[in-house]
């Protein structure tokens, strides 16, 4: 138990720290309902911050992320739809602001590539398995079977079982 305590404390600290970092950036905004706040949070979590590219707009502390959060907040308050807000950002910053790339000819490779690879792998697997089965079903003569049994050390009683 004594050994477990620091570990538990560490986990508790981690759990405590995670939601704090996400909500710290949202404190400045006021929402009429909890649902609106959640909606806003989901929306900005889908948008990439271009300054620190591995962080979403919700997580980033960059100046630009702060400005864009304000911009998105105002658009949400004006009652604009998610599609309109996404379009606003894509027009200015390009598809790269989206964590989920839109489906279009340039992105077919990333959307369908894994499935194509999976199909190829499946085809090769089926082919390999079929070949293996052909080998195991090869017929042997009665004389060969007797020799095989002798080599495997089978007794007469065990034969044909």
């Amino acid at each position: 138990m004594k050994r477990l305590l620091p570990a538990l404390l560490f986990v508790w600290l981690l759990l405590g720290a995670m939601p704090a970092s996400a909500t710290a950036t949202l404190e400045a905004f006021k929402f009429a309902t909890e649902a609106e706040a959640l909606h806003f949070k989901d929306l900005i979590a889908e948008i990439r911050c271009l300054v620190c590219q591995n962080q979403s707009l919700a997580d980033s502390d960059a100046e630009l992320a702060h400005d864009l959060r304000t911009e998105v907040y105002e658009m949400v308050q004006e009652g604009r739809s998610d599609a309109e807000i996404i379009d606003f950002l894509v027009k200015r910053y390009g598809d790269f602001v989206l964590y989920k790339p839109p489906l279009k000819p340039e992105t077919w490779f990333i959307w369908f590539g894994p499935f194509v690879l999976l199909a190829i792998a499946g085809f090769l697997l089926v082919r390999a398995l079929r070949r293996q089965r052909q080998v195991t079903t090869a017929e042997i003569s009665a004389e060969e079977r007797r020799r095989l049994d002798a080599l495997l050390g089978k007794t007469d009683e065990e034969r044909d079982t």
Binding site: Q53, E63, R92, G94
Partner: protein, 177 residues
């Protein structure tokens, strides 16, 4: 044939992987292509940096080839590229405008007095709203705009003499002809 394929196939896959990684890892992830290139420049009306009573708008940039440089006094690379902007101004090939992005007016004015002023005029974008319309995500950035007001090129990061000679000046010459 089948025997060779057994060795050549993994080698082929490896070669494709190397080719993709070679290309992918040599790209700079900080350079995000702007969707604004080839489109009309976003409209704006802002106060002039040197005169809060006067305004400057996108229509001031039209009618000739112009360059819009996004800069700020808090931006370290802007100081690095400042000499290059002065060099570009000296060529007299293009009208250089500035967008002073999220800055302090007094600081920016002092910067131009001390380091020299390559700009015809500067727009003062205090809250960065115009910067958002232009897709600015990090100063310095430089746009080349044709006489019709279409954005022809965006350079992200500090300008260098090399960028000037190999990219901007040839493009400006092409747009003028």
């Amino acid at each position: 044939m089948g025997r060779y394929l057994r060795y050549l196939l993994p080698l082929g896959i490896f070669a494709v992987l190397v080719a993709f990684l070679f290309r992918g890892l040599s790209l700079d992830p900080k350079l995000v292509p702007s969707p604004l290139v080839g489109k009309p420049m976003p409209a704006f009306t802002l106060t002039r940096l040197d005169d809060p009573g006067a305004t400057i708008s996108d229509s001031d940039l039209k009618g000739r080839v112009s360059v819009l440089n996004i800069w700020a006094t808090w931006c370290v690379s802007c100081r690095a590229e400042h000499d290059v902007l002065l060099e570009l101004a000296r060529t007299g090939q293009v009208a250089i405008y500035g967008l002073n992005y999220k800055d302090n007016r007094a600081d920016a004015q002092r910067w131009l007095r001390q380091l020299g002023n390559p700009y015809i005029a500067n727009a003062f974008d205090e809250d960065g709203r115009v910067g958002i319309d232009w897709g600015v995500y990090g100063a310095p950035e430089t746009f080349v705009i044709d006489p019709q007001g279409i954005i022809r090129h965006k350079h992200i990061g500090p300008l260098t003499t090399e960028v000037l000679q190999t990219q901007l000046l040839p493009l400006i010459a092409e747009l003028k002809s």
